[in-house]
Symmetry: C2
Subunit: 152 residues, 2 copies
DNA sequence: TTTACTTAGTGGCATATGCCACTGTTTGCG
DNA sequence: CGCAAACAGTGGCATATGCCACTAAGTAAA
């Protein structure tokens, strides 16, 4: 017998997505917590790490995140000395981001924990199921809802 | 040919989920915006509406959301007169929530817009695909990662 | 009943995200 | 060259969420 799972809004794609995000976020956060980072921060450090001193705009684009939101999220990481920024010498509008040595160490530490969370999650839902889910979510993140503003 | 979609972190279930949430959230927000509500608020009003003057804890449970977070999220809605709370006469610890008349009107208005967003989204990803996705996300929200604390 | 435990919310603090208005920079043109 | 349009970020303000410490209210055990 399957215990009646969750009540309510199981109809709105957005609401269901948010709810799952809260749940999974708490789990990853819990597991990664010993590093002192939130799962979001670990992910951000990773994103910076795999980039070549990426510009803020590039990071925001990759994460489908508002540029100013990225700026805010970056602050605690800069304050704690894990990340530093510098102006691109070729285009002074651009500010690039990179990990500090401590940031790299911290990322290593967090990644070890992340692997545990990732593994535990995939053990529960199945590796393939997880991969399919990620693919579906990637598609959503890449969707192109038309342009709201007016055309010239 | 499939244009290389999104770079980076396409490995972390949590990060991918968050990214999709940001994207979809922006879309639903945009569409629902004319009502003056965020998609999250519309969803919350709806959740309250379908409940029978639900207790805060019940709402938080259904949304897999922290109780205090719910309290915070509720504040703007109370301030704007869409929602009101009252103490349960049988158990004065419990605070129940209900829509005000204006809240009901506003919800109606927002739901009309929501349907547009929902429809547009499902036209893009496919009705069945969307249903499968919701089911998968529901499963995640219902997952039971073991209990972190120690046992007696 | 008196005490100990459990339950339901609140308030404070911190991060996560967005939008908008505004400030520098670059670039494109006339 | 000089100015308008396009870009990249910043800061302020508001919502979304969480955790923790604390208070008020039931409940159960002594």
């Amino acid at each position: 017998m399957s215990k009646d799972p969750l009540p309510g809004l199981t109809l709105c794609n957005n609401a269901v997505l948010r709810r799952a995000t809260r749940k999974l976020g708490q789990f990853y956060d819990d597991v990664v917590a010993p590093s002192g980072l939130k799962a979001t921060q670990q992910g951000l450090l990773y994103q910076i790490h795999i980039g070549d001193e990426p510009a803020m705009g590039a990071i925001a684009g990759a994460l489908v995140m508002d540029l100013s939101a990225l700026g805010h999220t970056l602050k605690p990481l800069i304050r704690d000395g894990y990340v530093e920024t510098f102006t691109d010498p070729n285009d002074r509008r651009i500010k690039r981001v990179r990990l500090t040595p401590q940031g790299l160490i911290k990322l290593d530490e967090a990644m070890k924990l992340w692997r545990v969370a990732q593994q535990r999650f995939e053990d529960m839902v199945g590796k393939e199921q997880a991969a399919m889910l990620r693919a579906a979510l990637d598609d959503i993140a890449a969707l192109d809802f038309g342009i709201p503003p007016a055309a010239p």
